[in-house]
C-alpha cells in the first residue's frame, strides 16, 4: 500500500490529479463557508443574471478595493429581448471574512462568516444565476457534495453484495453456482442505463431528499454488482483449492466463516483497484440520471440536475455559465481516471516493466 502511494506521488499526472481532487473535496467540505449564499437562497427577480463583474480599478483609473455593480433588467427595443445591464449608479464593495447569511457548518455549528460577501442590497453572483435566481457558484459547491460522494456510497453498498454473492457462488459450486451465475448474467444482459432509468422511475414521489438520495445510491449499486460478483467468483474458484482453506475446513470452520474470514480477504487488492476504477462511472451515472430529471430532485442540487437547464437551446447559447457543472464533472472524472490508471500500473508488475 505504501509503495502504491509512493508511485502515485512520483507520477506527474497522478500527482496533479490527487491535488485537483484534494482541492475539490476541500472546497466541498468548506462549501458553507466558501459559498456567498446558502443552498436555498433565491432571488426571483434575478433569474438568469450573468456572472457579476468585479472591478479593482475605479472610474478615475485609480486602484480601489474590489467592488461590483448590480445588474438591472432592461427591455431592449431593438432586439425585443430582456437584457441585464450593469447599474453603475451604486458601487458595492466586497467584504472578506464578513458576516453574511447564517448557516450551520457541517450541519452542527451555527456560523455566519463567509469567505466573500458583498455589502447589503448588493448581489454577488460569481457564476451567474439559474432560472430561479439562485447563485450558480454556491449551488455548484453544494451540488458537488452530492455528486462527488454518491459514487463512493454506491460502491460501499455494492461491494459487500458482490463479494458475498460471488464468494458463495464460487465456493459452493455445482447447481447453486450455475443458478446464481445465470441470474447475474441475466442482470448484466439488460443494458445498464435502461435498467437504471427504470429503477429510478419507479421511486415513489413525495420522498424526503435524504430518502431519495439513499435510494439513488441503492439503485446505482444494483446496476454494478453482477459484473463484480462474476469476477470475484472466478477468483474464489482458484482460492478455494488452496491449503489454508482445507485447514480451516478440517478444524470445523463453518462454510460462511471460511468464505468471509479466509477466502474473501485474499481478494483485497483486486477490490481496491476495482473500486478506484469504478468511482468515475458512478459519478457519470448519477449525473446522467439527474440530467434526465430522474435522479436528485430540486430544490437539492447536484451537478447533473444543474445541467438539466442546459437542455434548452436558449440557455446554452445565451447563458453559457449554466454549463459549468459539466466542466467540473469532466475534471473530477479525469482526475479519478488518471489515479486509477496509475494504481493499475503499479499493481500490475508486467505493465511496470514497460
Amino acid at each position: 500500500m505504501k509503495e502504491v502511494i509512493e508511485q502515485l506521488l512520483k507520477d506527474k499526472f497522478a500527482k496533479a490529479a490527487i491535488i485537483v481532487l484534494g482541492l475539490i473535496y476541500a472546497a466541498l467540505f468548506l462549501a458553507d463557508f466558501l459559498a456567498p449564499y446558502t443552498k436555498d437562497f433565491s432571488d426571483r427577480s434575478m433569474a438568469y443574471v450573468p456572472p457579476s463583474k468585479i472591478f479593482t480599478i475605479d472610474e478615475n483609473g485609480r486602484l480601489s478595493k474590489p467592488y461590483t455593480y448590480n445588474y438591472i433588467r432592461e427591455f431592449d427595443n431593438e432586439t425585443l429581448q430582456m437584457q441585464y445591464k450593469l447599474d453603475r449608479s451604486q458601487k458595492y464593495y466586497l467584504k472578506f471574512f464578513a458576516k453574511g447569511m447564517p448557516y450551520k457548518f457541517l450541519g452542527i455549528i451555527p456560523m455566519k462568516r463567509h469567505l466573500v460577501t458583498v455589502e447589503d442590497s448588493g448581489r454577488l453572483f460569481l457564476l451567474g444565476t439559474d432560472i430561479n435566481g439562485r447563485d450558480v457558484f454556491s449551488r455548484l459547491l453544494f451540488g458537488g457534495r452530492i455528486s462527488m460522494t454518491i459514487g463512493f456510497l454506491a460502491l460501499f453498498v455494492l461491494f459487500p453484495i458482490g463479494l458475498l454473492y460471488g464468494g458463495i457462488s464460487g465456493y459452493f459450486g455445482g447447481k447453486a453456482d450455475t443458478l446464481m451465475m445465470r441470474f447475474a448474467e441475466a442482470v448484466m444482459s439488460i443494458p445498464s442505463f435502461y435498467l437504471l432509468i427504470i429503477l429510478a422511475s419507479i421511486l415513489p414521489s413525495g420522498m424526503t431528499s435524504i430518502q431519495r438520495f439513499i435510494l439513488i445510491v441503492v439503485i446505482l449499486a444494483l446496476i454494478g454488482w453482477a459484473g463484480f460478483a462474476r469476477v470475484v467468483r472466478g477468483m474464489v474458484l482458484s482460492i478455494k483449492t488452496r491449503e489454508f482453506v482445507q485447514a480451516a475446513k478440517s478444524i470445523g470452520q463453518s462454510d460462511l466463516g471460511i468464505i468471509v474470514k479466509h477466502i474473501l480477504p485474499q481478494t483485497t487488492s483486486f477490490v481496491i483497484v476495482a473500486m478506484t476504477l469504478s468511482v468515475p462511472s458512478y459519478i457519470l451515472s448519477e449525473s446522467g440520471l439527474s440530467f434526465l430529471g430522474l435522479g436528485i430532485q430540486q430544490p437539492d442540487a447536484s451537478w447533473g440536475n444543474m445541467l438539466k437547464e442546459a437542455q434548452e437551446f436558449t440557455n446554452i447559447i445565451y447563458r453559457p455559465w449554466l454549463l459549468t457543472p459539466g466542466f467540473l464533472i469532466f475534471v473530477a472524472v479525469l482526475a479519478f481516471n488518471l489515479i486509477g490508471d496509475t494504481i493499475r500500473d503499479v499493481l500490475d508488475p508486467k505493465s511496470q516493466m514497460r
Binding site: S189, I190, F193, Q311, V331, N337
Partner: protein, 321 residues
C-alpha cells in the same frame, strides 16, 4: 460441423437467459405503484372498448404470476400491446430498433477502423511523444460525460448551422433520390456518431495498445525477429492476429456500453432510437412500451455477445468449441 453445433448450443443457451431477463424486468415494473392504464384512460382518442381489452389482456385483476404468464403468452405470439397513444408497440419498435442499430453499427465500425491502427501505432512507438499525446487524448475522451459532450456539439451545430439538429431525416426526405437520401442520413448521423465515437474510441485504442505491447513482449515475436523476418511480417502477420483476439470478446461489451451510452446521446440529439423511446416511455410510465423495449435492448445485447463469441471461434482456433 463442430462449429455449427457449438453455435446452435450457444443460441439455445440464450433462451433461459431471456426468460430470466423477462421475469426480472416484469417484476421490477410491477413493483411500481403506477396504474399501467392511467395514461390510456386520460387519452380521449382511446375507446372504452380498447381499454377493456388491454385490462383483460394484462390480467390486471389477477395475481402477479398469472399476469406474467399472460404477458409471456402474448409476447410469444408477437402481441406487445399498445402504447399510451394507442399505437401498436410492435410498430413503434420496428421503427426505432433499426435506427439504434444503424447508430451503434456505424460507431463500432468507425472505432475499429480508427482505434486498431492507433492502438498499434501507439504500441510500436511506445513512450514516444505520439504515444503520450494519444494517452492524454484518450483520457480526455473517457472523462467527458456523453450528454455534456452532446450538448456542447449542439451549441456548435446551432452556432454554425453546419449540421441539422434532431431527427434522422430532413422533412423532404421522401422526395429525394437514393444518393441524396444517404447523404441526408449521414448528415444527421454525424453529431451523434461523433459523441459515441469519441467515447468508445478511447477504450478500444487503450485496449489494443495494451494487447499489442503484451504480444510484442512475447517469445514467439522475439523468435520471429531472431529468425530474420521483416518487421512488417512480424507485426502484421504474427503479432497483430494475436493482439486482436481479446478485442473480439470485448466487442460484445462494447455493444452493451454503446446501447447504454446511446440512450443519453439520442435523448439530447432527439434521435429516433430505442434509447430515447425507452426514456420517453419511462417518463410517461407507459408500461407496455417500457417492458417491450427493455426486452428488445436485452435481446440485442445478448445477440451482440453471441455474435462476438461466434466471431472468436472463427478467428481463434484455440477456443474450444
Amino acid at each position: 460441423m463442430k462449429i455449427l453445433k457449438y453455435i446452435f448450443k450457444r443460441i439455445l443457451q440464450t433462451i433461459p437467459l431471456l426468460i430470466i431477463v423477462s421475469i426480472i424486468s416484469f417484476f421490477i415494473i410491477r413493483l411500481s405503484p403506477v396504474d399501467p392504464l392511467a395514461e390510456l384512460r386520460l387519452n380521449p382518442s382511446v375507446s372504452q372498448e380498447t381499454l377493456q381489452k388491454e385490462a383483460e389482456r394484462l390480467g390486471l385483476d389477477k395475481p402477479v404470476i398469472v399476469q406474467y404468464g399472460l404477458w409471456a403468452k402474448s409476447f410469444l405470439k408477437g402481441d406487445l400491446g399498445i402504447t399510451s397513444n394507442g399505437e401498436k408497440v410492435s410498430v413503434k419498435l420496428k421503427e426505432r430498433i433499426p435506427n439504434t442499430l444503424l447508430l451503434t453499427v456505424v460507431v463500432i465500425f468507425l472505432t475499429w477502423i480508427v482505434g486498431i491502427p492507433l492502438g498499434i501505432l501507439a504500441a510500436l512507438k511506445w513512450k514516444s511523444p505520439f504515444d503520450r499525446i494519444l494517452t492524454v487524448l484518450t483520457s480526455i475522451g473517457m472523462a467527458i460525460p456523453s450528454f455534456f459532450f452532446a450538448v456542447l456539439l449542439l451549441i456548435f451545430a446551432v452556432r454554425t448551422g453546419w449540421f441539422p439538429v434532431g431527427g434522422l431525416t430532413s422533412p423532404n426526405f421522401a422526395d429525394m433520390g437514393l444518393i441524396s437520401q444517404i447523404k441526408d442520413i449521414a448528415h444527421h448521423l454525424f453529431l451523434p456518431v461523433t459523441v459515441l465515437f469519441t467515447i468508445s474510441l478511447a477504450g478500444l485504442q487503450r485496449q489494443m495498445r495494451a494487447n499489442m505491447l503484451d504480444v510484442l513482449d512475447s517469445d514467439y515475436v522475439k523468435f520471429a525477429r531472431a529468425k530474420g523476418l521483416s518487421e512488417f511480417k512480424v507485426i502484421y502477420k504474427h503479432a497483430l492476429r494475436n493482439a486482436v483476439n481479446p478485442l473480439i470478446t470485448l466487442l460484445g461489451f462494447e455493444f452493451a456500453g454503446l446501447l447504454s451510452g446511446a440512450a443519453l446521446t439520442e435523448y439530447v440529439f432527439q434521435y429516433p432510437g430505442l434509447g430515447r423511446l425507452i426514456l420517453e416511455a419511462v417518463l410517461k410510465s407507459d408500461i407496455n412500451l417500457v417492458m417491450a423495449s427493455l426486452m428488445m435492448g436485452a435481446a440485442m445485447l445478448i445477440a451482440g455477445n453471441l455474435l462476438a463469441d461466434i466471431l472468436l471461434i472463427i478467428t481463434d482456433p484455440r477456443v474450444k468449441t
